[in-house]
C-alpha cells in the first residue's frame, strides 16, 4: 500500500497522483491518505480500479465523480460525498453530511453512520445504503437507482420522485409530494437482498417497507406534453 500524507503534500498534487495511478492501471492499486483534516475534494475524479482509504474525516465533495474506484473514508464525510458518482464503491465508516450521493449515476455508496438532509437528491442510478438515519428531503427528485435506509427517514422522503426505489426499515417522518408506500414483491426482496449483502448491511429484506412514485404529478400526465 502506498501512503499519501496531506500534511506533506498539497491537495492538487495528491489528487493528480491518485488520478494518474487510476488511469495508468499498474499493479499498485492500494493507496491510503493520511491527515485529511477535513480537506475538500479528496480523491475526486478517479477513473480506474484503485482502492483508496482516507484515514480521518473529510470536507466537501470527497470521492466526487468516482468511476470504478473504491474509496473508503475511515471517519465522517462532509457535504456532497460521492456526488455524481458514475461507478465503483464509496464507503463512509462514520456519518455523511448533506446531499450524500447527489446526482449519482451508478456505483454503490455505503454510509455506516447517519446521512443528513437531501441524501440521494436527484440520484440517477446510484445505489445508496445508509445503516443509520437519513435527514429531510432525501431522494428529492430521485430519478433512478435505489436508496436503502436501515434507520429512520426524515421529513418529505422522496418528494417529486421519478423511478428511484426507496426502502426504509424504520419510521418515515413524512412522505414528500407524490411519494407513496408500495407493495414489496419478490423482485424487491431479491434486489434488496443483493444490495444489503454487497453493502455488508446487518438487515434482512423482509424488515423493510418500499416507497416509490405515485406518478400523479404534472410531469407524468401525457396531456401536458403539448405544453413543451
Amino acid at each position: 500500500m502506498q501512503t499519501l500524507d496531506l500534511a506533506q503534500s498539497d491537495l492538487r498534487t495528491l489528487n493528480a497522483t491518485l488520478q494518474t495511478a487510476a488511469t495508468a492501471g499498474g499493479n499498485e492499486t492500494a493507496w491510503e491518505v493520511v491527515n485529511p483534516r477535513g480537506a475538500h475534494a479528496l480523491a475526486v475524479g478517479l477513473d480506474g480500479p484503485l482502492s483508496v482509504t482516507v484515514r480521518g474525516s473529510t470536507g466537501y465533495y470527497c470521492a466526487g465523480m468516482n468511476k470504478q474506484a473504491t474509496v473508503q473514508v475511515a471517519g465522517s464525510a462532509g457535504p456532497g460525498v460521492a456526488e455524481n458518482m458514475m461507478s465503483g464503491t464509496v464507503v463512509v465508516e462514520g456519518d455523511a453530511s448533506q446531499y450524500a450521493g447527489a446526482t449519482g449515476r451508478g456505483g454503490l455508496l455505503v454510509v455506516k453512520g447517519n446521512a443528513s438532509s437531501r441524501c440521494g437528491i436527484s440520484m440517477k442510478g446510484i445505489d445508496i445504503v445508509v445503516f443509520g438515519n437519513v435527514g429531510h428531503m432525501s431522494a428529492f427528485m430521485a430519478q433512478a437507482g435505489t436508496l436503502v435506509v436501515l434507520g429512520d427517514a426524515g421529513e418529505a422522503l422522496g418528494d417529486s420522485l421519478y423511478e428511484a426505489r426507496l426502502f426504509v426499515r424504520g419510521s418515515v417522518r413524512s412522505l414528500g409530494a407524490d411519494c407513496v408506500e408500495k407493495e414489496m414483491r419478490p423482485e424487491h426482496h431479491a434486489l434488496l437482498a443483493d444490495l444489503l449483502e454487497r453493502a455488508g448491511a446487518p438487515a434482512a429484506p423482509e424488515e423493510f417497507r418500499r416507497y416509490g412514485s405515485a406518478r400523479r404529478l404534472y410531469n407524468f400526465d401525457i396531456d401536458n406534453a403539448s405544453a413543451y
Partner: protein, 297 residues
C-alpha cells in the same frame, strides 16, 4: 457562505488559551468569507467592573477619552487601546449612562460590545489580520464566537461585520440570510428595541435580546426564533454564561459540533475543529435542523 466558529470551555485549565484556540479555528475558515472578520470573547469576570468595547476609524479619538468619560460619569474609567478598538473599564453602576455620554463626547465612535465580560473585535479584512491586530491569541476567557463574512444582505463595513451585540454580554453570529428582517425590524422598533445597521443578522440578535428581555431563557428565545425568523440561518449565540446554536428547518448552511469533557465547539466545517485538544475522541455531530442546542455555565 460565511464561516462561523464557537468554543465554550468546560475545563478552566483551557481558559488561558481561549483566544489562541478560537483565532486558530477562525483562520481555518478564511476561505468561507474574505470580507470582514470578528471575534467575541467572554473574559474573566472583574467584580463591579463593566467593560465597553469601542471602535473608531481614527484611533486618535481614543486620546483623552478615559479622562473625558470619567468626568462625564463622575467615576474612574480605564482605557486600553489596540488598533481601532479600545476597551473602557468603568464602575458597573455607571455603565448604563456610558453609551449616551460616549455619543456626545465622540459622535463617530461605535460601541461593539458592552457588559461585564464580553469584548468584541471586528474589522474589514481577513481573520488572521484581524486576530493579529487585536492580539486575540493572547486573550483568556470562558467562551467565545467568531465569524468570517462573505457579505450578501448589506455592505462590507466594520459596522456590518459580525458578531453583533444588541444587549450587555449578548452576541450573535449568523451564516445565511433572513427574508423577513425588514418586517421584524419594524416590530422590534415598536417594542423599543433599536437596530443600528441595515444588516439582517443584527435584527436576529436584537430579536433574541427582545425575547430575553421579555423573560425567556436563551434556549426559549432560540425556540421562538424558529417560529418568527424566516430565511436561512445557522446561528451561534453567546450570553454571559451561555452558548447556543440553532439552524433553520431547511438547514442548508453547514454546521459541525464537537463535545468533550473539556469543551463544546462549533465550526461551519470539521476543518475548523481539527486542532482542538482530544478531537479524535470527541463526540462529533451535525446539529439537527430546527433544533436548539445550548449550554450554560
Amino acid at each position: 457562505m460565511c464561516g462561523i466558529v464557537g468554543l465554550f470551555l468546560k475545563d478552566p485549565a483551557l481558559e488561558p488559551a481561549l483566544g489562541e484556540m478560537l483565532a486558530g479555528m477562525l483562520v481555518t475558515m478564511t476561505d468561507r468569507g474574505p470580507d470582514s472578520a470578528g471575534l467575541a470573547l467572554y473574559g474573566p469576570q472583574e467584580n463591579g467592573v463593566a467593560k465597553i468595547t469601542v471602535q473608531s476609524d481614527d484611533p486618535a479619538a481614543f486620546e483623552g477619552l478615559d479622562t473625558a468619560l470619567a468626568e462625564a460619569l463622575g467615576g474612574p474609567v480605564a482605557l486600553s487601546a489596540a488598533g481601532s478598538h479600545a476597551v473602557l473599564r468603568l464602575d458597573a453602576a455607571r455603565a448604563g449612562e456610558a453609551p449616551a455620554a460616549l455619543a456626545s463626547l465622540r459622535p463617530g465612535m461605535r460601541i461593539t460590545s458592552r457588559g461585564e465580560t464580553i469584548e468584541i473585535y471586528k474589522e474589514v479584512g481577513l481573520p488572521a489580520d484581524v486576530a493579529a491586530r487585536f492580539g486575540v491569541a493572547g486573550m483568556a476567557g470562558t467562551h467565545g464566537i467568531g465569524h468570517t463574512r462573505m457579505a450578501t444582505e448589506s455592505a462590507v463595513t466594520t459596522r456590518g461585520a459580525h458578531p453583533f451585540s444588541t444587549a450587555p454580554d449578548q452576541c450573535l453570529v449568523h451564516n445565511g440570510s433572513l427574508s423577513n428582517h425588514h418586517n421584524l425590524r419594524r416590530q422590534l422598533a415598536r417594542a423599543g428595541v433599536a437596530v443600528e445597521t441595515e444588516n439582517d443578522s443584527e435584527v436576529a440578535a436584537a430579536y433574541l435580546t427582545w425575547r430575553m428581555q421579555e423573560g425567556a431563557s436563551l434556549g426559549d428565545a432560540l425556540e421562538q426564533a424558529l417560529d418568527d425568523l424566516d430565511g436561512f440561518f445557522t446561528f451561534v449565540v453567546g450570553t454571559r454564561d451561555g452558548f447556543g446554536v440553532v439552524r433553520d428547518p431547511i438547514a442548508c448552511k453547514p454546521a459541525v459540533m464537537a463535545e468533550t469533557d473539556a469543551y463544546v465547539a462549533f465550526g461551519s466545517e470539521y476543518r475548523a475543529l481539527v486542532d482542538l485538544p482530544g478531537i479524535e475522541a470527541a463526540r462529533v455531530w451535525e446539529p439537527e435542523p430546527a433544533t436548539v442546542y445550548f449550554w450554560t455555565r
